[in-house]
Symmetry: C2
Subunit: 726 residues, 2 copies
């Protein structure tokens, strides 16, 4: 079993959509779906751009833009196009090298008794983020003349309308260029292409056409370079593109591979004894690294990565609560970029708070480039009436603002980098806590603040009161704000002096915000009145379905029952793992598990981690494999009502890493101490990984209960609670 690549022999037309996501390439600037070079919009080709959005005419929502495809290539023999999706192949191999970030395919077609083999290899440069490159070969087992069309394909996948107007084209010999602008904001997008290796070229309609006489068994190879530019990168696009072309395919590839080597050096997690888990976890890490914003603090990570426009290319709480731990422990620069993106979109969050009658910062549920909320008030279509259904994701999922405050603080205390506070972090915290203060309801007769009419992680229960996750998250955010004030007051008094001097309200709010407590059985009620709902599990609800893909939320089947979409109380226990006893964790895990549908890919990892913590290693393993292999199996919900929600699942990818590290390795931390209390699955001989901890680069290897750590210099690390001594 190859632990550094995935591949598939044979072809099934129904796999096109899934494999487009599964074999995805990305570099944070763009994602290139795992489609064949001869594919077009119908086969869901997309070069999905991070942080570049548009609203198409007549559409209800803005979404990320897919660029025209400069790698488009198709070979014809005697008028027959060698297109895998339409022509039966003799053999087909599809491969993704996750070690080096290389996509390749080898397909044999037979036309009139001649076997023609197509080999193609491509990568998106990790070093030069605007550049994609393709090496393409054709070989036949007889002498034959083929026609090759290669160029820029405008016919690309779009979910919600056409986003580009075509402003100008250039076609000069081996060079093509397409200049576009977006429909809504007239933002420029430039796609350029250069082909190397043809003797004769005719250009027509952004395609080079060439006739090639193949000699039996002699491989004909050509190279293509693509450049995608928008925003800042437009300025030097010409120079940048020719620079890449001049460097050449092999050198570009080498520097790309080197970059990946550096990534793996810091990020790889090695599982000995369980190849399946090893590949799944590594594949998850591959995805996280290939969509991370390495070079920008202007965009978040979309909920479906860069696999397409699903969920509008917007960033959700997924980033802060599921992916950020991985980055802050392995690549703090990316973590900081992600948090600075939130700081940079604070104005959008302030606009949103105002729109809904509050003050402060209410972050977007679905965040694009400005921080204004891309989420609509009607996010689902009622399957019974085909009418838009009022959902409360946008206006009631208030925990997002607390998640971000929490994440900034988590970043600070794990990396030791508190400069983000004075780079806008503290201001963001102020606005978020002020938002919650204005959102909250003070109950004088109870002398406490409550958070009413909210939606927690479990979206099947909208508009609930005192959702435990939300209240606890906000309570911590308020506490964090006070800690952060103290930190800045101490370290940057001159900065603090500019702050609002009267923070009485914040102290009062933090002190008196209601935090739901366990009942006599140790169970924390998910929200006020949850225990009074109909006692029904997902299995039973399933039998009540009338239509396929029925939406269980809204006024749907789950809304009046105890069935939850995803970890909610258990997610809270996972996030605040140091604050609840093993007994409380166990009681709640066992109580809520049967009611949880895991209808979101965010659910399994929380159950996995808490399961590990309470000694249910079998369950932890089951849920770990579920979260780690979600994009390998592609076995996820593809539709929510009539809404397509397929693609990659970076939150689950992050959840896989979280489970390995926090669950099995048993890593936890307080403000000053990192503890490792492993509980590995029986079949794992060892687990090795690296963590950046307040500047120390820890190199950790766990074998059974034995923990070896290198790299401790200035920090405190314990193993099973005892100070670690080598």
């Amino acid at each position: 079993m190859n632990l550094w690549s995935i591949q598939k022999n044979g072809f099934n037309i129904s796999d096109i959509e899934k494999h487009g996501s599964k074999y995805l390439l990305g570099n944070g600037f763009m994602g290139y779906r795992g489609t064949m070079e001869e594919y077009s919009a119908e086969q869901l080709v997309a070069i999905n751009l991070a942080g570049f959005f548009d609203l198409a005419d007549g559409s209800n929502w803005r979404e990320s833009v897919n660029a025209p495809n400069p790698l488009y290539t198709v070979v014809s023999v005697g008028g027959v196009e060698l297109n895998l999706s339409t022509l039966t192949s003799v053999s087909h191999n599809h491969m993704l090298d996750i070690k080096n970030g290389i996509h390749s395919r080898k397909t044999v077609f037979n036309v009139n008794g001649v076997n023609i083999t197509i080999k193609a290899e491509r990568f998106i440069s990790m070093v030069k983020e605007n550049i994609i490159a393709l090496k393409y070969s054709v070989i036949a087992d007889k002498d034959i003349t083929v026609t090759i069309k290669t160029g820029i394909d405008k016919n690309i996948w779009n979910i919600s309308g056409l986003h580009l107007n075509y402003v100008s084209e250039i076609a000069e010999n081996d060079y093509l260029e397409l200049n576009c602008e977006t429909v809504e904001l007239k933002n420029q997008l430039k796609v350029c292409e250069k082909v190397v290796g043809f003797d004769n070229i005719n250009n027509d309609n952004l395609l080079h056409k060439s006739t090639v006489n193949l000699k039996k068994d002699e491989e004909f190879t050509f190279i293509k370079f693509g450049g995608i530019y928008h925003s800042e990168s437009l300025k030097n696009s010409e120079k940048d593109f020719y620079n890449a072309v001049n460097i050449g395919y092999d050198s570009l590839l080498n520097e790309h591979i080197s970059f990946w080597q550096k990534i793996w050096k810091n990020s790889d997690v090695i599982i000995e004894g369980d190849d399946e888990a090893q590949l799944a976890l590594r594949y998850s890490i591959y995805h996280l690294c290939s969509i991370a914003p390495h070079n920008t603090d202007k965009c978040g990570i979309p909920a479906r990565g860069l696999s397409g426009q699903v969920y509008k290319g917007a960033a959700f709480w997924d980033t802060e609560m599921f992916m950020l731990p991985f980055f802050q422990f392995t690549d703090a620069k990316v973590a900081r970029n992600l948090l600075m993106y939130r700081i940079n979109t604070l104005d959008g969050a302030k606009r949103k708070a105002k729109e809904f009658g509050f003050e402060g910062a209410f972050f977007a549920w679905e965040s694009q480039e400005t921080g204004d909320d891309a989420c609509t008030l009607f996010n689902v279509t009622d399957i019974f009436t085909n009418r838009p259904l009022r959902t409360y994701f946008k206006d009631k999922q208030i925990h997002i603002s607390a998640d971000i405050v929490f994440a900034i603080w988590d970043y600070c205390r794990t990396t030791g980098d508190y400069t983000i506070l004075t780079d806008g972090g503290l201001k963001l915290m102020y606005q978020c806590i002020w938002f919650f203060y204005t959102y909250s309801a003070f109950k004088p007769y109870k002398n406490r603040y409550e958070l009413l009419d909210a939606v927690g992680p479990d979206e099947y229960h909208e508009r609930v009161n005192n959702n435990a996750f939300t209240n606890v998250m906000v309570k911590h955010a308020a506490d964090i704000f006070i800690l952060a004030i103290d930190k800045v007051k101490k370290n940057n008094p001159e900065y603090f002096d500019k702050f609002d001097s009267d923070l009485t309200w914040a102290y009062d709010f933090a002190e008196k915000l209601y935090v739901p407590q366990p009942n006599k059985n140790g169970i924390i009620e998910q929200f006020d009145g949850y225990f009074k709902l109909e006692d029904v599990t997902p299995e039973i609800l399933k039998t009540r379905e009338i239509k396929k893909n029925e939406y269980w939320g809204g006024h749907g089947l789950a809304s009046t029952t105890m069935t939850l979409k995803q970890a909610d109380v258990v997610m809270m226990l996972n996030v605040f793992r140091n604050e609840y006893s093993k007994e409380i964790k166990k009681a709640n895990w066992e109580f809520y598990e049967p009611y949880t549908e895991h209808g979101s890919s965010l659910s399994a990892c929380a159950y996995a981690i808490v399961a590990a913590e309470i000694g249910k290693i079998d369950w932890a393993y089951k849920y770990f494999m579920k979260t780690a292999s979600v994009d390998l199996t592609g076995d996820t919900k593809q539709y929510l009502g009539s809404l397509y929600i397929g693609g990659t699942h970076p939150a689950a990818n992050g959840g896989a890493w979280n489970t390995a590290i926090f669950g099995f390795a048993g890593v936890s931390f307080t403000n000053d101490t990192l503890d490792i209390s492993p509980r590995l699955p029986d079949n794992w001989n060892s687990l090795s990984f690296k963590l950046n901890w307040k500047g120390d680069k820890l190199n950790i290897k766990i074998t059974g209960n034995k923990v070896d750590i290198n790299g401790i210099t200035n920090t405190k690390v314990t193993v099973y609670g005892e100070e670690y001594n080598k």
Copy 2:
């Protein structure tokens, strides 16, 4: 045109349901539907009992009990039953005498060439509330032998299951008795029957059978007495029944008529010049008086009167806000009974508040004998899925508790009887205001209390924040509580001393409760965010319907639009008519009128009254006729989704009186002054009525703008704002 009765010649089988309600008899203890003597359950026969409830096995809700029918009678000729619903009649006349409360019918059948005429007259005694009496005659135009079956029919209409177990039967000569008990609480119900006028009787299965030889054109007449007893009245039932029988039909009828004469003396409103309006208004008053609890403070008036079990026989806010004005001005004893019923059910209201996590008294949305809420959380069935739909009538329509506080105070200041405060009224007020205090959300940064997550009169918009009607109602209730405290402190210091001495919270709440104000156009927003909803009128929504009887509330068509079910802001302007200027009333009436569906019979009267106030007399007249004739035309919604909601509409009946008095006569009052500022429709020559005002019995006649008043002794009355001098 007869202005004291309604009648119909001819028969249409599809009218059976409507006419059952239209020709209803009642005396506050029971209602007897306007069905034929030979009808049974299939023709919706019901003797609907006020304040007597049961939960049938397997049913989802409790409803009022219908008693077995002791007036059941059917005549057969040669084996053919003379049943209007199955046998074509030669002629049929159906009549309700609303002056005297008498139901009668005359039907001619033809069997084998012989015309047989059935005449029947019945009444429910206003004096002896357990007694119903029937005079029944048969006459044929040839000598003929008929068989008469008459007795107690158990086969009666039920909406939600069977409510009675039959415990014992007595059949002795001309006497029948059926003893039952309810399913849920084993409450006893006794039905007795006596027939007078037969020579020979065979009894079988609670039926007397008799064969009668009719001589050509000679009328055969017999009398039936029925007695219905439960609860208190059971004790002396035997004595009571035989007493009635001994008094005899004619004397019973005479005392019954005398009672109605007394009622009309105080309650009649005379419109000269508009017979149609006269009959409709009088018919409305007839209904109010025939279902009023004259002798008990143990039950309210059900939303469908005593016409059946629709809305579970429960009392709604309809009583306090739509019917109570009529009673407090014409029959204060009934008004006091109705309010004492609320005081007597305070414990149920306290249980409800607790159930939903609050303190104080949250009155039932649908109130039965204990004050526990008969309303379910699933009050409507989704027509697309046939699933129960979560509605928020029960847990969010909080204004009910304020409506009751308001009504008690209104009773006090119109009748001058403040003793109700120390008879429990003040305690009730305390509990209601404390409930609102615990329900409210204090917003420290705005220094105000808000009422979030409520449902106002417009039930199409559930779970809204700061519904203007609700906030204003609660604000007044809080103010009233403080006024009531002062009143009791002054008049009954010894009573007040037992009260909670620290009422700081109540003063704070009354002072700081947020009251939505008109915007720059004078419009008061129905609730936070209403103006942002889709700008769509009911006419347009109608075109979007997919299915008949679609429910527009819940997640239905109206919920995300500006279309409202019924007067909401306009209802508020109507209730607080002294507190808003004519300009504000006009602006809001004109703004909201096009968006109002009038999907509730509570809606038209509010629009009528405010229209009169702002000089739109034509509109006022249109909406007056709509509300006054609702039970005459029967032209109302019969279904809500799949839920049957037919029957009589006492709130609309009350609304008709309110419109005549407050709208056209222009009656309004402050704590010490009653003002009359008439604006009669052009075709009304005069309007005459009586009002009890703080003990004075005012006799008022309006002719054009001229007002004549008799009976002012100790009170202050003004006309168009000027003190009235005869």
